[in-house]
């Protein structure tokens, strides 16, 4: 048990530059795709790209992929779940009302 302080996983800088390049490309793609008429798919494509970008930031820039603290993932999943409850139940109300 003579272990010194266990240091966190240090990612290579190449990895960070790769993630950055992917995020920049996706930004250009999402702006460009918005000018193409995909019907109702436009919003879905924009949100899927945004979620993928957010995932890259959370997993790599925020080190969630390599964290030693397992509760972090539980906090993130529950936070997103609470947000889902807020949005889903509110919309269940407002989208079924008749506007007079």
């Amino acid at each position: 048990m003579s272990e010194h302080i266990k240091s966190e996983h240090v990612m290579s800088s190449k990895m960070y530059y790769g993630i950055w390049a992917a995020l920049m490309c996706l930004t250009v793609v999402t702006a460009a795709v918005s000018f193409v008429d995909l019907g109702p798919l436009n919003t879905i494509v924009a949100l899927v790209i945004a979620t993928f970008k957010a995932l890259l930031v959370v997993l790599f820039f925020m080190h969630v992929k390599y964290t030693s603290e397992k509760m972090t993932k539980a906090v993130i999943v529950s936070a997103i779940f609470w947000l889902f409850i807020l949005l889903a139940l509110s919309l269940a109300d407002y989208t079924t009302r008749l506007l007079s």
Binding site: Y16, I19, T27, F61, H63, V75, A79
Partner: protein, 233 residues
């Protein structure tokens, strides 16, 4: 290295007495930050919920309002924030490896990106101010109604879109200003040589905050700027 764990820990002034190891202290701090970020998701969540409801009700006004916002400035600002997230991530890495000068440099570059973001945001808001698109007494969207004769636009509903636009980008900008304050503090401490490979938690935790604010913008960009950019029929 041959010291007993207790002896190693007592040499570390940054280790608080109620933690048994530096690793436990770091994990607790990072976890606490994630809990705070969970409350931030709910904080912004209320606005996203309001946005969703009004966008569902007044889609035409939201689409026309979105078209009137400068997409180039929005895209450039997204790129600026992504670059700042890269310099934050590289800064945390520099702290992990004990490179003090590199850490200070990267923190300063991050703040330059942050200020650039707010400057571009200011230009964007100023354009809206000149166009009378800021909700209030002088709110006027006759130019938008004139630009899109094929869409029925109610000025009152258009005002709701711009209220949400300014509230959401404003709350985000406030977070950027707070982030700049945190990074000023981190830069000062890093310059003083407080951080080392065994103690860099404030840099990591401050970085988590910065990345979170970046993620909020990653969602605000398509939701406010890209609602409907396709050619009108």
């Amino acid at each position: 290295m041959s010291d007993s764990p207790g002896a190693v820990e007592t040499q570390k002034p940054e280790l608080l007495h109620h933690f048994s190891s530096a690793e436990q202290q770091r994990d607790a701090s990072t976890f606490g930050m994630w809990l705070f970020l969970a409350t931030e998701i709910m904080f912004f969540g209320g606005m996203f919920c309001a946005y969703l409801i009004y966008r569902y009700w007044y889609y035409n006004e939201f689409a026309a309002g979105s078209r009137s916002i400068n997409i180039w400035l929005g895209t450039i600002n997204t790129a600026v924030l992504i670059c700042s997230s890269l310099t934050v991530a590289l800064g945390v890495r520099a702290a992990q490896m004990g490179k003090r000068k590199l850490l200070v440099t990267l923190l300063l570059i991050t703040m330059v990106f942050g200020v650039a973001f707010l400057g571009i945001k200011g230009v964007e808001w100023y354009q809206k101010f000149e166009e009378h698109h800021i909700p209030g007494n002088s709110f006027n969207v006759d130019d938008i109604i004139h630009d899109y004769p094929q869409i029925h636009i109610d000025p009152q509903h258009e005002q709701i879109f711009f209220s949400l636009y300014f509230a959401m980008t404003g709350l985000h900008a406030l977070h950027m200003v707070i982030g700049l304050g945190i990074f000023t503090f981190l830069t000062y401490k890093a310059w003083k040589g407080v951080y080392s490979p065994s103690y860099y938690t404030p840099v990591e935790v401050g970085g988590l905050y910065w990345h979170f604010v970046d993620i909020v913008w990653i969602y605000l960009f398509p939701l406010l700027y890209l609602i409907d950019r396709k050619p009108l029929r």
